[in-house]
């Protein structure tokens, strides 16, 4: 068997040229999953039969002289909140037990059409609510860099799958940092695109106005490749942007000469671990060295992002998750009346964090409390957008840590939900603004665990963001480089 390259770009090139078969690529990855996923638990389901059929189809296309597409034969892992036709889609929740969607999410259709081989469904915090994947009904995912630590969340399975080499690409969803934070903690690239750039059709909703699907990969170029494949207007999602897909791969070599990059003051001080902040400053230096102009910028309302988020996201979730009532699909716990059946089903089917957020959101929307909570949070959201607009008047990109700390140990934060929520302090403001952001690995922390730095851009600023990401990737210190 030939040596299988590690990046999606190389694999696709080899498969398209006939150098490697999709079957060989798949087998190599399945073997790795078989050997290691018992410990990592990145996957809720490995789609062996479906993946084999998809790989065979790609090989048949190549044999027939056809081009299977830009992701030809690339194994790709799907977060288990993306609907896959006929294949269990669980959101890592008991409540969806036994449910098989009758349709594919738009992103699933698009990666399949681009020749990717969907290899499995990855673990997550139940309904994408969490920052450690400890809230999964099917047990936590372990960080491949150190299995005593969390991989982050909620897309912990997708981040771990890429970090462990189970698949060169994966898809996650990001509502408040659920792609970027686990990317940072697992030492991979993770991108949250502009809200509306990627169709949400078939993504099981957590908070509809914040959710956005995006890629994980080991390299910046691979994320560009995957984002180009999934982006673009979809008539089935009313919030989908009708704009041309930016040419991200083309922009990668353009450098950052003359770009203005702002370090966000509010996200460099209190609450940010010194080793993480130091890596961010080191990243700023790397951008300066490449010709960018670095300055400090204040985004005052960002300080209130977390508070606003924990009203808006639960409020939407309380409504989005109402449909899991035992009437039509998934789990049902029988009881004498419909209302009792609803309650019994939801009590048994949802985990603690999901229940906590449903209650928070229900309360925030309740008569008499709406104005003080949900209404005020919407105003803060408007202020955050305005503050970002001001910042982007002077800067092309912003730079912050992705996560305040490196990966923490299992159980460290489960007892205190607020300390867990603080993990997302750097990532949440961009979800509230609808802007793109990505995490790029940039060396390690004092504990030797990966640090991610976050690049933020204005809406549809992905091309510029990827240019800077490529520069940071090239300048990144090795993970084992001694931290000073």
């Amino acid at each position: 068997m030939s040596v299988i390259p590690s990046t999606a770009l190389e694999i696709a090139a080899a498969v398209r040229s006939g150098e490697l078969s999709a079957r060989e690529v798949l087998d190599g990855h399945l073997a790795r999953i078989d050997a290691q996923d018992g410990e990592i638990n990145a996957f809720n389901l490995v789609m062996i039969d479906e993946a084999r059929a998809a790989a065979a189809a790609v090989d048949a296309q190549v044999a027939a002289g056809e081009d299977p597409g830009p992701l030809a034969g690339v194994p790709l892992a799907l977060k288990d909140n993306l609907c896959t036709r006929g294949i269990p889609t669980t959101c890592s929740s008991r409540i969806l037990e036994g449910w098989r969607p009758p349709y594919d999410a738009t992103v699933v259709q698009r990666v399949n059409a681009a020749g990717a081989v969907s290899i499995g469904k990855t673990n997550l915090d139940e309904f994408a609510m969490g920052s450690s994947t400890e809230n999964s009904a099917f047990g936590p995912t372990r960080n491949p860099r150190d299995t005593s630590r969390v991989p982050g969340g909620s897309s912990g399975g997708s981040a771990a799958a890429v970090a462990a080499g189970f698949a060169p690409l994966s898809l996650g969803s990001d509502t408040g940092g659920s792609i970027r934070q686990p990317a940072a903690l697992c030492g991979v690239v993770g991108v949250k695109p502009t809200y509306g750039m990627v169709s949400r059709y078939g993504l099981i909703a957590f908070a509809s106005s914040l959710d956005q699907i995006g890629p994980f990969s080991t390299t910046v170029a691979d994320s560009a490749l995957l984002l180009e494949a999934i982006a673009g207007h979809d008539g089935r999602d009313s919030t989908s942007i009708n704009a041309p897909v930016p040419s991200l791969l083309e922009s990668l070599g353009q450098g950052v000469d003359g770009l203005r990059v702002g370090l966000v003051t509010e996200l460099m001080g209190e609450g940010i671990a010194p080793d993480v902040a130091a890596r961010v400053r080191q990243a700023a230096d790397a951008l300066t060295a490449a010709g960018a102009q670095i300055g400090e910028v204040s985004v005052p309302a960002a300080a209130y992002g977390l508070s606003a988020y924990y009203l808006i996201a639960p409020a939407e979730a309380s409504s989005n998750l109402a449909r899991y009532d035992g009437v039509r699909y998934g789990m049902r716990v029988d009881a004498p009346t419909t209302a009792e059946m609803n309650a019994a089903t939801r009590t048994a089917g949802f985990g603690d964090e999901v229940k906590r957020r449903i209650m928070l959101g229900t309360y925030a929307l309740s008569a008499g409390y709406y104005d003080a909570y949900y209404g005020k949070a919407l105003k803060v959201r408007t202020l955050i957008v305005r503050d970002f607009e001001k910042a982007y008047a002077d800067f092309d990109l912003l730079l912050t840590p992705t996560s305040p700390t490196t990966a923490f140990k299992f159980g460290d934060k489960t007892a205190d939900p607020l300390s867990m929520y603080l993990n997302d302090i750097c990532t949440i403001p961009t979800n509230l603004a609808g802007h793109p952001a990505m995490s790029v690995p940039f060396g390690g922390g004092s504990d030797g665990m990966p640090v991610g730095v976050q690049l933020l851009a204005p809406a549809l600023g992905e091309s510029t963001m990827f240019r800077a990401a490529a520069v940071l990737e090239a300048a990144a210190p090795a993970l084992d480089e001694v931290w000073s």
Binding site: W99, P101, G235, D237, R323, A367
Partner: protein, 497 residues
């Protein structure tokens, strides 16, 4: 307690208390849900079709399956605006909102509706009696599925099991919220009639109460005559016919007056009309204590119809019932509230009437025929020129009213000219001198009866008028005009006194 049907202070319907003699006024505001007559549902491509096999017109979107998203049907907006404009509403930029509550017929356990920013606001509907009923709003929302409860009472409580048909889930609705300007159960029924006519005219809905494509809830309150503040209202649901609507309002008003007169207060609540028992019943309070937690639907974008779109809808607006009544009344020279005018428009015979009047037909006579003699099919195809000719023959005395009715019926069937039909039927023209000759002859034949007719009391005279009219009709083989006969008898009597 007595319900007087006498119109007091205009059309107000008054409850007069038997115990206190006090007069109470009924105040009604109607909320109407109508299903829009689109080909597909509000947010997906499933057929919007009544009566199909259960759960055949469904897809991930209208079943609210996890991950599905709504996409607004452009034609729903078009019809909603058309209806709004027909109700003289202003079309505003609007947003969709989620109304959150649990019910098994609702696939997402929230209903997508419009809350604080509805598409149509501040319109009105003019009733045939001249009353202008304000329209607060007419907003778009999705319908729910339909539950069938087996066993027990047929309601969800106590049922052995329940079946849900989601064919109706996601069917587009417009909810038309009327202001409390209705004062009479009959007026409420007229309002629904008029609204139904507008729905049909605009093509917005087929408006069938029996199929549930038009559903009415009534907000009913009472107040002492002269009071200006509104009383506490109850919302009466489960009104499946116009008859139920009228009965329920009347019952509810009586109930409320009874309570108020014994010093009790009205509790604002939802009540269900029980047609069999003829009464309203309070819903279970636990069910009614709802907090819908409205918030903007994040899966849809705000709706801002362009001025050009609204203008195009206005330009294509078909003539509406009120405007048609105005046109007909003014052409016929009668009041717009005349029953014949209302009926002509209801039967779609106003165009025929207008054309007939334009062709020289007498307005009042034309309307009389439309009201009494033209209810059947085929009347709209009547030739206005020949209809006008018929009316002229009648007014000229060549045909009696009875003969004209017969001829008109034949015209509708055969389409032939009135003079031809009249001749065929032997409806000979009878001029006045011929009639005078016959009458004078009959008077001479019965001198005693004539004397009694001339000098007798009212009762006797009435009886003898019948005697002479009968003889005249017999002698003329029914071709004499009854009115002309009466006038002639009266003038001969005056001469003989």
């Amino acid at each position: 307690m007595t319900l007087t049907h006498e119109p007091i202070e205009g059309e107000h319907f008054i409850v007069v208390s038997e115990t206190t003699g006090e007069s109470w006024e009924i105040v009604v505001g109607l909320e109407v849900h109508c299903e829009l007559a689109t080909v597909t549902k509000l947010f997906c491509g499933c057929p919007n079709m009544f009566g199909d096999e259960p759960n055949t017109n469904v897809c991930p979107v209208c079943l609210g399956l996890p991950g599905s998203l709504p996409v607004l049907n452009h034609n729903v907006v078009e019809l909603a605006i058309r209806l709004g404009r027909a109700l003289h509403c202003t079309v505003e930029p609007s947003v969709f909102a989620r109304k959150n509550y649990f019910y098994p017929d609702m696939p997402k356990d929230y209903q997508v509706s419009q809350f604080d920013k509805p598409i149509n606001v501040d319109g009105w509907l003019d009733l045939p009696d001249g009353t202008r009923v304000g329209i607060e709003r007419a907003h778009i929302e999705e319908d729910t599925g339909k539950n069938t409860h087996a066993g027990g009472s047929g309601r969800i409580h106590g049922a052995d099991y329940s079946l849900v048909d989601y064919n109706r889930a996601g069917v587009p609705l417009v909810e038309i919220v009327g202001r409390p300007h209705i004062r009479h159960p009959e007026q409420a029924k007229t309002y629904i009639d008029e609204l139904r006519a507008i729905l049909l005219t605009t093509g917005a809905s087929d408006a069938k109460m029996e199929e549930g494509s038009l559903r009415v809830d009534a907000n009913v309150s009472v107040r002492r005559v002269g009071d200006t503040a509104l009383g506490t209202r109850c919302e009466v649901k489960n009104l499946n016919s116009l008859r139920s609507l009228g009965r329920a309002i009347e019952y509810e008003a009586r109930r409320q007056v009874d309570l108020l007169e014994t010093g009790e207060r009205i509790k604002q609540e939802t009540r269900h009309w029980d047609e069999g028992a003829g009464r309203t019943r309070a819903g279970r309070s636990k069910e009614e204590a709802q907090d819908y937690r409205y918030f903007q639907e994040p899966d849809l974008v705000p709706l801002a119809p362009s001025a050009e779109w609204i203008a195009a809808i206005d330009a294509a607006m078909p003539p509406l019932p009120a405007a048609r009544r105005d046109a007909l009344a003014s052409s016929a020279g009668v009041a717009v509230t005349e029953t014949s005018v209302v009926i002509a428009v209801q039967r779609d015979l106003d165009q025929l009437a207008l054309a007939t009047i334009a062709a020289g037909g007498d307005g009042k006579r034309v309307l009389t025929h439309v009201e009494h003699n033209l209810s059947g099919d085929g009347a709209t195809d009547l030739n206005p020129a020949t209809f006008a000719q018929l009316v002229s023959l009648e007014l000229g005395g060549q045909l009696t009213a009875t003969q004209a009715k017969t001829v008109l019926a034949e015209m509708v069937t055969s389409g032939r000219a009135p003079d031809v039909i009249a001749a065929e039927l032997g409806f000979e023209a009878m001029d006045s001198s011929e009639l005078e000759g016959i009458v004078d002859g009959l008077i001479a034949e019965s001198p005693d009866e004539w004397a009694d007719f001339c000098t007798g009391d009212d009762k006797k005279r009435g009886k003898l008028q019948g005697f002479f009219t009968g003889k005249i009709m017999k002698a003329t083989k029914g071709q004499a005009d009854g009115k002309a006969v009466a006038a002639l008898l009266e003038s001969r009597r005056a001469e003989s006194l």
